[in-house]
């Protein structure tokens, strides 16, 4: 099963809608609650990253019998140094984003902790793509 969602940069009122939809779908499919939690936390962090940093993005989720694959791709500023961005506490989030309780520099590492496999590709001034896989 494949699902695709559009995400708008800066649209914090709707940030999380894609993750929320996926959560409901995984519940309906009777996926193990721990796997649901890990998957939606990773997705949500990624979705918030797109809203906080990019101009726009897409989230594609593919639910197969043995795994959940998600691809979060955005058009945005990209990440110059991925190792640095992966480090806990490093953030380039704006003051506005921090006031909302985000931008603690935990997003990417939370995504990694909550996924079985994760890959990031990024090009400065072009955008970022994060792929995650969680096994069922």
């Amino acid at each position: 099963m494949e699902f695709e969602f559009e995400v708008q940069g800066g649209d914090f009122s709707n940030a999380g809608q894609a993750s929320s939809r996926i959560k409901k779908i995984l519940k309906q499919l009777n996926v193990d609650p721990k796997t649901i939690k890990r998957t939606v936390v990773a997705l949500y962090e990624g979705e918030v990253n797109i809203v906080a940093h990019a101009w726009k993005g897409k989230i594609k989720v593919d639910i197969e019998t043995e795994k959940i694959k998600a691809r979060l791709s955005d058009e945005g500023p990209g990440i110059a140094n991925i190792d640095q961005a992966m480090r806990d506490g490093y953030s380039t989030a704006s003051e506005e984003v921090r006031e909302m309780g985000f931008g603690a520099g935990m997003g990417l590492s939370n995504m990694k902790k909550n996924s079985d496999e994760m890959e990031i590709h990024s090009e400065v001034s072009q955008g970022t793509t994060v792929m995650i896989v969680n096994y069922l």
Partner: protein, 114 residues
């Protein structure tokens, strides 16, 4: 401890989820950091926060948190209320600070999550 007792102890006002006042809470977590909140999760957990925005409710939804106290007089907006209702959450407003709310509940036997 029942949600109703928790609300009384912190002189709170339940603004959403009144039908769940009889439910039992065992532990608490205080934070203003959404990524930190996402590392938690327990059905019996109450979140105490100084934040009040729609992302707080979304984050709680992702973390399977159903009970939230908004400290220091923070008000719940209509947008928050709608999302909280959709997810059947309990929202409590209190004029107590996060420190005081946490202290009162800790003294009353609510366990820390970590």
């Amino acid at each position: 401890m029942k949600i109703e007792e928790i609300s009384e102890k912190i002189e709170g006002k339940v603004v959403c989820g009144e039908h769940r006042l009889g439910e039992e809470i065992t532990c608490g977590f205080s934070s203003d950091l959404m990524s930190d909140v996402l590392t938690t999760g327990s059905e019996k957990l109450i979140l105490i926060t100084g934040l009040s925005n729609v992302q707080l409710i979304r984050t709680a939804e992702m973390s399977d948190i159903s009970y939230i106290v908004m400290a220091r007089g923070k008000k719940v907006s209509d947008e928050m209320l709608n999302l909280a209702r959709e997810n059947d959450m309990v929202l409590i407003e209190t004029s107590y600070s996060m420190f005081r709310t946490s202290g009162v509940l800790f003294s009353a036997g609510i366990q820390p999550l970590f």
